[in-house]
């Protein structure tokens, strides 16, 4: 029987002898072989392994299904000689896959996305920190006044974990926002006041109000040109 050396985290490796009926999936992340169970995404496969991979992720949270909206978790995968960019929170871990999480091209792409996020939400700490890490000084766009990045975590946890849909994402494009039914900013009886949405919000855009229910972020469209599109 063959033994393989797999990395548990960035510093620790172990020898594993694969049983014959093993379902394990092996993949190489930034040069280190790791072992995971089938059905996991690439991001999930490295989630609790400090030192393996460098993947920022804003719309991912282990308690809800992956959504693939922020695109910060994009990595390069090599499969059958072809390299491509994929969102690691959704891409399934497959046997033999070669994953690179921190190449120049990947960093360049994340920098582009972060510049867009920072321009939208210049005051949000997590985004500021990531922007510094990726070498952005100042976005080259007019600055917005938003805190919400529309990752949908609040909406998803309310539906998936609480079994309510007290809030949802409404409208298309830049007019998208989080709203209560009937396009209200105040939450009605659908909300049980669990506060889960506030807990998962990565930017602090959602805050708990005095009634124990979240206060929804108001979306402002700063550019007059964009306002012209509002119907």
């Amino acid at each position: 029987m063959k033994s393989v050396t797999v990395w548990v985290d960035g510093n620790t490796s172990v020898e594993v002898i694969e049983p014959k009926d093993s379902r394990a999936v092996h993949l190489t992340v930034d040069g280190k072989l790791i072992r995971t169970t089938p059905g996991k995404s690439l991001l999930e496969a490295v989630w609790n392994r400090p030192g393996i991979g460098n993947i920022p992720a804003l719309c991912y949270h282990p308690i809800v299904q992956s959504y693939g909206a922020c695109r910060l978790c994009t990595v390069e995968v090599e499969e059958q000689g072809r390299t491509r960019f994929v969102a690691s929170c959704l891409y399934p871990a497959k046997e033999g896959l070669v994953v690179r999480t921190d190449t120049d091209r990947v960093r360049q792409l994340r920098k582009g996305v972060l510049e867009l996020l920072l321009a939208r939400c210049p005051e949000v700490k997590v985004i500021q920190d990531l922007a510094i890490e990726y070498g952005i000084e100042k976005p080259r766009f007019a600055l917005g006044v938003q805190d919400c990045i529309l990752c949908g975590l609040c909406v998803r946890t309310c539906r998936e974990n609480i079994g309510r849909s007290a809030i949802s994402l409404v409208n298309r494009g830049i007019f998208r926002e989080v709203a209560a039914p009937f396009y209200a900013y105040e939450l009605g009886d659908g909300c049980v006041g669990c506060g889960d949405c506030v807990y998962v919000c990565p930017t602090g855009a959602l805050k708990l109000g005095p009634d124990g229910k979240p206060v929804l972020p108001k979306v402002h469209i700063p550019r007059p040109a964009a306002e012209g599109l509002l119907r």
């Binding site: 909206a69 695109r71 399934p92 321009a119 494009g173 998208r176």
Partner: protein
């Protein structure tokens, strides 16, 4: 014939007997008037014309002598309402109800109503027959051919021209593997935009695990200016259905959906009627033509957004969820509708299938280029003389479509660019007009085949402004789920706004390219990843126009309001005072017989002075 009365066709022989009996009842010398009842001609009054013909024939007691056929779209909608007299094939255009008695009288006497004939603008000659009109002459109508000749609400019309014989052949003479192999060897690629090999898609879906599988027809057609899918579904719904039944049989699906754009009521009603008729004849439903194969089709109205045409968004919408794309790392042929193997093809793709099965892959793959086979229907619009639906063999140069079929540029102006592939297609310049219609060649040039909208632009078009127009469209249509698309397209709009109002900087050109990269590589679906094409191709082929806007603060085409300045050429001005009177902002002053003067501080740049001057004395720059 009413639907309820027909006998189910128990086998292929019964279908052939039915076909013979329909054909025998028809007289090839019968006088027939084919009146286009497509949406385009209806909009220009085809229903009144049809009613007038009905009334005139009744009044003169001629209903038996002359048959009326309310056909689907003929493609030359611009000249509608269109009427063709058979068997002579006399072609009348822009027909109005008051012309009807003359047409009927002339038809009976074997004469012609001269003034309703089409006049070739190039030669000034009147043209008698449909086939001789340059717009039709250059086309190869294989898929769209019967659209204008049969009544789409009569399944018997379709059967008479050989309809459902491909289905009969597929069910009785071919194994499912042979059907798939035939489609693979034909080289057919998806007509909905991606150009994915259809046979390969069918094969993956056939192989995918699962007892329940679906086939879906994408008739969402959200591209501005494109309407070939609507016209096909309205005019030849049975060809689309026949293709779907063959595909379902090959894949092993027993249920199908047609997802139709909400704004297409006639397509919905014609497709619905086609399904009912096919059901009545046993061409749909249980035990089709006695083969033991069951298949049913339902129609769903679209979610009303451009992005709903994207495969994963379409399936979400069919499931009753919000029509938003999701990542397709597991392909929809494996996990599509309700997580079951699903084969989605475009209307035109499905309509190609009966042709391939009937005439064979070896015949089909003779047409076209090495990797793009068959024909493609385009909707030719913009600044060309002849607009409409155009079916051409793959490989034909763009120039032939625009100049031969399209009759060249309107008002004798110069060609500037053509956009292929819909709102996220690229602009192709004059130097590349020799490019053949071919999936891969168009992609290499920075554009794409897309679903087939072709928008022609003339020298008066500002390419920066045009890029901004499409970016604005896509900005509104982005679903807003992923950051690169939602924020990136918006910011492209911001930068383009800066440039077209004279506030641009040279760094903005690189910024646009960087944004394009983020969109292309980072977006979740193809709406975002292709959105930058108009910007990238305008930067690639028309960079000097960007530089003119940024450095010289000039719009060479004179379209960008903020960069235009009006002035009076004093040598030409006769002092007629028309502009002084007409200027709504009172910015022009002057005395009789003395050159007028424009006060730029007051001028609102509306261009009225430019339009009213009869002496070309107003300069726009």
């Amino acid at each position: 014939m009413s639907i309820e009365q027909v006998d189910r066709l128990v086998d292929v022989a019964a279908l052939e007997r039915l076909r013979q009996s329909i054909i025998e009842k028809r007289n090839p010398f019968q006088l027939r008037l084919r009146i286009c009842n497509g949406t385009g001609c209806l909009a220009s009054g085809a229903d009144e014309v049809t009613a007038a013909f009905e009334a005139e024939l009744t009044r003169r007691g001629l209903s038996a002598e002359i048959n009326l056929v309310k056909s689907g779209c003929h493609g030359f909608c611009e000249k509608g309402p269109l009427v063709v007299v058979e068997p002579q094939e006399t072609f009348y255009q822009r027909v109005k109800p008051e012309h009807v008695p003359a047409i009927v009288a002339a038809t009976l006497d074997g004469k012609i109503v001269e003034e309703l004939l089409y006049v070739d603008p190039a030669t000034g000659e009147r043209i008698l027959h449909e086939q001789e009109v340059p717009f039709y002459r250059g086309q190869t109508r294989l898929v769209f051919g019967s659209n204008g000749t049969i009544d789409p609400t009569q399944i018997e019309d379709y059967i008479a021209i050989g309809g459902y014989s491909a289905l009969a052949k597929a069910l009785t003479q071919m194994s499912t593997a042979e059907i798939i192999d035939e489609v693979k060897r034909s080289g057919l690629r998806g007509r909905g935009g991606g150009g994915f090999p259809t046979g390969v898609k069918w094969e993956s879906c056939r192989r995918a695990d699962g007892d329940i599988k679906y086939v879906v027809c994408n008739a969402d057609e959200g591209d501005p200016g494109a309407y070939m899918d609507r016209s096909l579904l309205e005019g030849t719904p049975h060809a689309v259905l026949e293709g779907m039944i063959i595909g379902a049989h090959a894949i092993g699906a027993h249920e199908g959906y047609i997802y139709v754009r909400n704004e297409y009521p006639l397509a919905v009603s014609n497709a619905r009627r086609a399904i009912e008729q096919a059901m009545a004849y046993g061409l749909l439903g249980k035990d089709i033509l006695g083969s033991g194969f069951d298949f049913k089709v339902s129609i769903n109205r679209g979610g009303g957004a451009f992005v709903c045409g994207e495969s994963s968004a379409l399936m979400a919408s069919l499931e009753g969820q919000v029509g938003e794309p999701r990542a397709k790392y597991v392909h929809t042929v494996e996990k599509g509708l309700w997580d079951r193997p699903t084969c989605l093809n475009n209307v035109e793709t499905w309509a190609n299938v009966p042709l391939i099965i009937n005439r064979g892959a070896d015949w089909y793959n003779q047409i076209g280029t090495e990797k793009s086979k068959g024909t493609k229907i385009f909707s030719l619009v913009g600044k060309v003389n002849n607009t409409g639906l155009v079916e051409v063999p793959m490989g034909i140069p763009l120039r032939d479509i625009i100049f031969d079929i399209g009759g060249g540029i309107l008002d004798g102006k110069k060609f500037k660019a053509v956009q292929t592939g819909g709102p996220s297609g690229g602009f192709i310049p004059e130097s590349l007009l020799h490019l053949p219609v071919d999936f891969d060649r168009l992609t290499e040039a920075g554009s794409m085949m897309g679903s087939g909208a072709m928008i022609v632009m003339d020298e008066g078009t500002c390419m920066v402004n045009m890029a901004k127009f499409f970016i604005d469209f896509l900005e509104e249509e982005s679903c807003g789920k992923c950051v690169p698309c939602r924020e990136g397209i918006d910011r492209m709009g911001e930068v383009l706004e800066r440039i077209t109002t004279g506030k641009g900087r040279m760094e903005d050109l690189e910024l646009l390219e960087a944004l394009a990269d983020t969109l292309r590589l980072g977006s979740l679906c193809a709406l975002g990843s292709t959105a930058a094409n108009p910007v990238l191709t305008s930067l690639r082929y028309f960079r000097d126009e960007y530089i003119a806007h940024v450095v010289d603060k000039k719009c060479p085409a004179g379209e960008c309001q903020a960069l235009i300045q009006y002035s009076i050429i004093s040598e030409k001005c006769t002092g007629c005072m028309v502009c002084v009177r007409e200027c709504p902002s009172h910015a022009v002053t002057g005395k009789r017989r003395e050159p007028a003067v424009i006060d730029l501080a007051v001028c609102s740049k509306c261009g009225v002075c430019y339009d009213v001057c009869r002496f070309d004395a107003v300069k726009r720059a």
